[in-house]
Symmetry: C2
Subunit: 342 residues, 2 copies
DNA sequence: TGTTAGCACTCTATAGAGTAGAGTGCTAAT
DNA sequence: ATTAGCACTCTACTCTATAGAGTGCTAACA
């Protein structure tokens, strides 16, 4: 598509712009990148590149900057893949070791790690739990008036809540109710425990309607809580260090958008795609981030894609570095999750 | 201290500056606030107020702005207390109803509510759990290789984790170990469960050292997790709407500071003080927020002060509104917590 | 004696003019 | 095909002038 020299020049332009955020001119390219050709030749080639749509000029007679198409070509063809250093990998593992206690902290800390390493905003979409199945519930004693209700699922997520015991109910009865519910719901996924099933159950076990209701409510709450998928953000402050976000209004716009969790979920969901995916500028569906780029990667648990990690930043981002980090998370996060599930 | 007219003028200056963020001149005061005196008289009074240190001039011949001392006098003496409207109270209660599932969500949502209502950054210091006592732990079956370990405390906070069952151990044995631990630790506060007690326990129950270790480790983790008190932040984006934070560097400084949880805890802890407390400008110990004001309020559960809520913003903040909201939380948050503990 | 009108003065923020510098495109020479 | 040279363009910055808001002081007034 492009001859070798054009590629080299385009690469120089993108590399330079990524690191300096300033338009770059022919003289500078000739000086900094030893291509063995004069500024004049570079100028001619740049005129071609501009005509082809790979670069643009902010104003007549300023240097060139990459266009979206230019970034795309850079990402697809020019970019040199990097490797994570052993040092970095150790750092990450130690970080998890030191900071993670409960499984949901994995997501928060992953977001932090990614944003630290990429110096951009990171987003982690936690797995949706609708597929996980109800195992059993159990009442544990708490005090005279109250009991602890524990719900165990096969994914290892455990929900618990303190409930008030109705005055006319003994702990034995509680256990009977639990047994009744368990025999009905055991093995069902949260998706399958629809209101129909719950309704049936209600008619079935009559003895202590009120208590049953509370129990079912809590199951339903757990169900609802797990169904909505949660997005963890990291490094929003990093935005302020980027030259393209020196304008407070711009920052406010983006941050306000990031507060809408539903929107985030929608952005993060990668239908069908697998691995690391880059979306540049207008390629983004949402107008709020059309002057940004996003790099996303799925991650798996037991071979199943369960969630997404992503980095959001200006189109002038370090694609190489960021893709490397996300590639790593893509193949590594599953293990981490398994490890901390125990 | 100040005669009535000076008070009125000072109040006008503070009120106006709070709402406009612009220095205010004598003519404007005369026009907007009908005090029945001419600009010239106001100028004389303002000269006095400046001499007394209540107001200052950013530059010769610009309008006046309140000084820290001026704000202090305003807060202590001039300010007209407001009341929460029934409407607002309902809104808050509905918000809790709709959004809170687990008890720790109360804090996050409280932070959100406060920041929405005050249009400033809010901070909520969750109760420290070191005083709560260990009740018992119990193993629940999970699958052939694994079990669920549930730790119940008397405050109603329940910790759970899936652990691997060593191959040579039966579920019966697990229960014996649990009984052993429970008889030793029951009723002890997390503070009292020091490494000494844990050490004793270790020497005591020899049979399955490895499993015991895991269990103790988890207790210790729960202990550590509850001991460090957590700060929930809300409305950091609001900062960007304030005229005093149009400078990106300033925003970055403050937000970076707010990422340090330890520092936040320290700022939030109000030794000995009770109710709503206002700290203006340099009155703050931490240099990072010395051009900010902070309004803090304690909240109680069962008569005991357990945590703090606070609002952080420019010294030019709506003290009246903010103090009203925090006063409300001061007297109301305890009930909310109790309600959602069940 | 307290209040007010008038006025000269100060300081800022804004707009306009001029300039240096970086970079380009074109032409002609190599 | 490549490159040196050069006129041209556009921006970013500095410098200057100006309008406007607000003050403090003085003198007049009730």
């Amino acid at each position: 598509m492009l001859d070798e020299r054009k590629c080299k020049i385009l690469q120089a332009i993108v590399d330079d712009y990524i690191s300096t955020a300033e338009p770059i001119g022919s003289r500078t390219i000739a000086r900094k990148y030893e291509l063995g050709i004069s500024p004049a030749t570079i100028r001619n080639e740049m005129a071609d590149l501009e005509l082809l749509g790979y670069i643009e000029q902010p104003h007549t007679s300023s240097g060139r900057i990459p266009s979206a198409k230019g970034y795309r070509f850079y990402v697809d063809t020019l970019m040199s893949p990097q490797k994570m250093t052993v040092n970095e990998i150790n750092l990450i593992n130690n970080w998890y070791m030191a900071k993670v206690r409960r499984i949901d902290e994995v997501f928060q800390e992953t977001a932090k790690i990614i944003s630290r390493m990429t110096r951009n905003i990171s987003m982690v979409l936690a797995p949706q739990q609708s597929q996980c199945a109800f195992k059993y519930l159990q009442f544990l004693p708490f005090d005279a008036q109250r009991a602890v209700l524990v719900i165990v699922t096969d994914s290892g997520l455990i929900e618990n809540k303190i409930i008030e015991i109705p005055e006319d109910t003994s702990f034995k009865e509680l256990q009977q109710i639990a047994a009744g519910i368990n025999s009905r719901l055991a093995g069902l996924t949260f998706d399958a425990i629809s209101s129909t099933v719950l309704g049936e159950l209600k008619q079935d076990i009559i003895p202590n309607q009120r208590l049953l209701n509370t129990a079912l409510e809590i199951i339903q709450q757990a169900l609802a809580g797990k169904k909505s998928n949660k997005v963890y953000l990291g490094g929003t402050t990093q935005l302020l260090s980027q030259p393209e976000f020196q304008d407070v209004e711009k920052v406010k716009g983006l941050l306000t958008m990031l507060e809408e969790e539903r929107l985030l979920c929608d952005i993060m969901k990668m239908k069908g795609q697998e691995g690391v995916v880059v979306t540049i500028g207008h390629e983004n569906k949402y107008s709020g981030i059309q002057d940004c780029s996003m790099v996303q990667a799925t991650y798996r648990v037991d071979g199943q894609v369960v969630g997404t990690v992503a980095v959001l930043g200006p189109t002038r981002m370090e694609y190489g570095k960021i893709m490397t980090v996300l590639e790593f998370m893509h193949s590594h996060l599953g293990e981490v999750l398994k490890k901390y599930k125990l």
